[in-house]
């Protein structure tokens, strides 16, 4: 099981880099959807025996992160006629390289954190921190409102990876509440994105600069 678990984590990390290097917004949405599905599978391979609450939590996570949120975003994309390119501040190749460098250095640095519960920790903590940092890069280096939302999603995914360490401490209700909050926030953000597009005829957040000192 550990092997499957670790290979899933490696795939998630590879998807991070793909998301950083993708040119089209639609493919970034798909990459993050796939990442969400893989994340939902992770807790299932972590435990030998499956419990019902665990199964419910995983299925909900898969359907919200992997299906519902991507669908909401693709739907929003259809309403908004924009150039479907990401338009980053730093180019695709440099940001992918930056992502790779971050992944490498986080894994090197966290090597020193000794494990509390066996082999899992060795991978979970650095994978979580890397994904969070990649989320930040996406959030900071993209101009389009909808791409920034995707950065936020990757950030949330990173936090979700960390929560695997605490699988017994997080009750089902709390986990559901977190997913609900995530869904509602994405839903509201997409509505606002739509209004940004209507009001400014663009999704470029560089136009949101009226309010300043």
């Amino acid at each position: 099981m550990i092997n499957i678990f670790n290979s899933l984590l490696v795939m998630i990390l590879a998807l991070n880099l793909l998301a950083l290097g993708s040119r089209s917004i639609l493919s970034v949405i798909r990459i993050i959807a796939l990442q969400g599905i893989l994340l939902g599978i992770l807790p299932l391979v972590l435990n030998e025996g499956l419990s019902i609450p665990q199964l419910i939590a995983s299925l909900t996570a898969i359907s919200i992160k992997g299906v519902v949120i991507p669908m909401v975003m693709i739907h929003a994309m259809k309403n908004i006629r924009i150039k479907r390119e990401v338009e980053p501040t730093i180019g695709f190749v440099p940001s992918s390289i930056l992502g790779a460098v971050i992944t490498g250095s986080v894994f090197l640095l966290t090597n020193q954190i000794t494990a509390g519960n066996g082999n899992y920790v060795n991978m979970i903590i650095p994978a979580a921190i890397t994904t969070i940092l990649v989320g930040f890069i996406l959030l900071v280096t993209r101009y389009k409102a909808i791409s920034q939302v995707m950065g936020y999603l990757v950030l949330e995914n990173g936090i979700y990876i960390f929560s695997l360490l605490l699988i017994e401490a997080i009750p089902l209700i709390v986990e559901m509440g977190m997913l609900l909050d995530l869904f509602v926030s994405i839903f509201i953000i997409t509505i606002i994105t739509n209004h940004i597009n209507n009001a400014f005829s663009s999704l470029d957040t560089r136009r949101l600069t009226t309010l300043k000192e």
């Binding site: 509390g116 519960n117 969070i132 959030l139 409102a145 920034q148 936020y152 950030l155 949330e156 936090i159 960390f162 929560s163 360490l165 605490l166 017994e168 401490a169 997080i170 009750p171 209700i173 709390v174 509440g177 977190m178 609900l180 909050d181 509602v184 926030s185 509201i188 953000i189 606002i192 209004h195 940004i196 009001a199 400014f200 957040t205 949101l208 600069t209 009226t210 309010l211 000192e213």
Partner: protein
Amino acid sequence: MVYFQVIIPIALALIALVVQSNRIRPWLVPIAGVFHFCLTLWLLFDPEQCYVNSWLILDPVGKIILFNVSLLYLICSFYAAGYLQYRQERQNKIFVACLAAFIGIFSMVCWSHNLGVMWISIEGTTLITAPLIYFNKSKKSIEATWKYLIVGSVGIALALLGTFFLAYSSLVGGADASMDFYYLLENGATLNKSWLQAAFILLLIGYGTKMGLAPMHTWKPDAYGEAPGIVGALLSGGVTSGAFLAITRIWQICNVAGETEFTSKILMGIGLFSMLTASIFMMNQRDFKRMLAYSSVEHMGILILGLSVGTTALFATFFHVIASTLTKGMLFLSSGNIHRAYASKNTRQVTGAIRRLPISGTLFLIGFLAITGTPPFAPFVSEFMILTNAFTAGHLVAGSLYILFMLIVFMGMGITVVKVVYGEAPEDAMDTPYHEGIMTTMPLVLFLLMILILGIAIPTPLTQLINEAVSFMEKPF
């Protein structure tokens, strides 16, 4: 009891979505306010109701925050009903629904003793208030809502990570991984120090973003500036108090874990930095609503500074939560009236408010005097107590900086307020349709009465409530 506090407002919010009349619908907000306040009073006098299960406990600190926000909401809710009558040109369905649901979700913040549930409810208050900022549907309000959502969501995501770190520190320390507040307090001594410190920093950044501490305050002037005055009052008194409650929780855990020195230094730094930032940006501020936002940043800084001084300043800090909330309510509501009458919030257009709106103009001026610490109002008492407590605890530099920043704020804010209140009102502002009615001025007068009474003498039940909270913070068991 908690279920009623949550369910009644949410049920009223659902009713608001069904009611068709734009005139009748706003009255659902005062109904929610009255119900909620009555239930809160009942809870204060009947301690047996305050325990539901290990997740939902209303402890003394939660009581203060719940009482504080419930009172603010009660008064604001009547203002909301009056205000929305002036804004009949706008569909208020979403606005009323969100306003009613807000107090329900907020009650969960005060009740939750599981830090995960607490996080969910604080995130909930963020989401439910976003449509409120967007009420005017102008370009500027879209921008403000966007910043509020993105900055707020990222901040609160870090708070979630901090909550996980905290649970993990318990696991590394040898106990069970748990997000239960009492469990973490009981096992405080065993928590792993480095994970706890990391958790503290993440939680402070996360909930500090919600509170609007500098340098995470960037959403605040935009959101408060563009939202209707009533929303400003609820955000600056309600949402921020909830985030402050969350920070007191982690402070308590760090205290039990013996990390007081570490947390004090950071809190003091960030508190003073917030006051500094506020005092700089308040100078030459032409937009009086943004000025109030910076004033809110300043007062959040004061609260955090009070917390950093330690147990001796806790009484003053909790009192300041109430004093500043009520004063802010008065300031935001009166600024809302002035904004409505002049259709501008820039001091180039807004002058002579005291002639155009005698009541709101006067109360805006008094609110300014009160919030900057002029006797005999309540903030004077709390601000002065925090200062003396800081000096007696030996924080001479921090205390002196505190006086300095308060002085700069007084001057900076004073210039803007004097411009708004005195002088000749421009011709075109005299014929705008807004006129002061009882619904939009009585709430202000009530706020004034309360801060005046609290400034002269703190009623015994309130002293008792705050004392209970202080001893709970010192020794939870």
